[in-house]
């Protein structure tokens, strides 16, 4: 499954309003709930935060990829959020995180989960791509950026 297959404007939020790590996770999960892709927000939150406790998924250069394997979803599910001002996500370089890719995967779909995460890893290596995303002003724009890349 290609990453673009997981991205539609109803799973993208620009800009994110939250100012803390836990609020960001909740805000992105709410996006998925509102899009009809998630029912049990609390269980998903617990799964994401359990993974975060093992080590933050806040990477370098403003990228964060919170993720979890959980049975609260039936299929691979992604939410994208952009916080132009940045939020402390306990990133490894200590910098605020601006681009968030929250992914939930059901057990038994490890292959597609890994492929999608690795596509995110590959894309976010490009500073130009990340800069373009951070400058996006709407969900439509974000979807278009992924489609054009």
């Amino acid at each position: 499954m290609a990453l673009i297959d997981l991205i539609s404007k109803d799973v993208v939020k620009v800009p994110l309003e939250s100012k803390t790590k836990t609020e960001i996770v909740r805000e992105l999960l709410k996006v998925l709930k509102d899009a009809g892709k998630l029912e049990n927000l609390e269980k998903a939150y617990d799964a994401i935060m359990a993974r975060e406790r093992l080590g933050s998924t806040g990477l370098e250069d403003g990228i964060a990829v919170p993720h979890a394997k959980t049975d609260v979803v039936d299929t691979l599910t992604l939410a994208i959020g952009i916080s132009p001002g940045g939020v402390d996500f306990e990133a490894i370089d200590g910098k605020p995180s601006q681009l968030f890719f929250l992914m939930l995967a059901p057990p038994g779909q490890s292959g597609p989960h890994i492929e999608a995460l690795s596509e995110i890893a590959r894309l976010t290596k490009s500073k130009a791509f990340c800069r373009t995303l951070i400058e996006a002003r709407s969900a439509d724009e974000v979807v278009e950026i992924f489609r054009e890349d």
Binding site: M1, A2, I4, D5, L54, G55, T57, L59, V65, H67, I92, P107, G108, S110, G111, H113, I114, E115, L117, S118, E119, I120, A121, R122, L123, K125, F146, R147, E148, D149
Partner: protein, 163 residues
């Protein structure tokens, strides 16, 4: 001595419905043409390595997901074996780990395959799909002919009708 245009065919299984359809069609072709049939599943450890390097995955996650992928590989290869056995076709199963398209190319060479069979490719919805889709990459680099199998219903009918 070789007897026909296709003597050894290899079908690539990745767990998708399209790849299972390709397996069904391969069973039909193998039986009709008398070609030797191979099925391959490649555990994409390169993607796992990338995730650890980029620090998206912790070591503990890498191990857990690797176990998941191993069991996926066994499950799908066994399913394909059942499909072949049901129709009285012998099948050679290959399980590899590494870079998917590179392993496909290597297996084609090692087993002297003259036809690689792939499931229908996903629609290209962004430019990078063309560059990063493993089946597409394999299609471009293998040394043998490549067949893309389409029309799940028709293939199923052909498979079911096979005696």
């Amino acid at each position: 001595m070789k007897q026909g245009p296709v003597n050894k065919m290899l079908v690539y299984i990745d767990g998708s419905e399209e790849s299972i359809t390709a397996a069904e069609y391969s069973v039909v072709l193998s039986k009709k043409m008398g070609a030797e049939l191979y099925a391959i599943y490649v555990i994409n450890t390169r993607a796992l390595d990338d995730l650890v390097k980029s620090r998206i995955f912790l070591q503990i996650e890498e191990e857990e997901y690797k176990r998941d992928l191993e069991s996926d590989a066994d499950r799908y290869l066994n399913h394909v074996k059942e499909l072949a056995t049901k129709k009285g076709v012998a099948i050679n199963l290959i399980k590899k780990s590494g870079n998917v398209h590179a392993e496909l190319k290597k297996s084609v060479q090692e087993n002297d395959i003259d036809l690689l069979v792939l499931g229908e490719l996903a629609h290209v919805r962004s430019r990078r799909d063309e560059f990063y889709n493993e089946a597409e990459r394999a299609m471009r680099i293998v040394d043998c002919s490549v067949m893309i199998v389409k029309d799940e219903e028709k293939v199923w009918e052909l498979y079911e009708a096979l005696e």
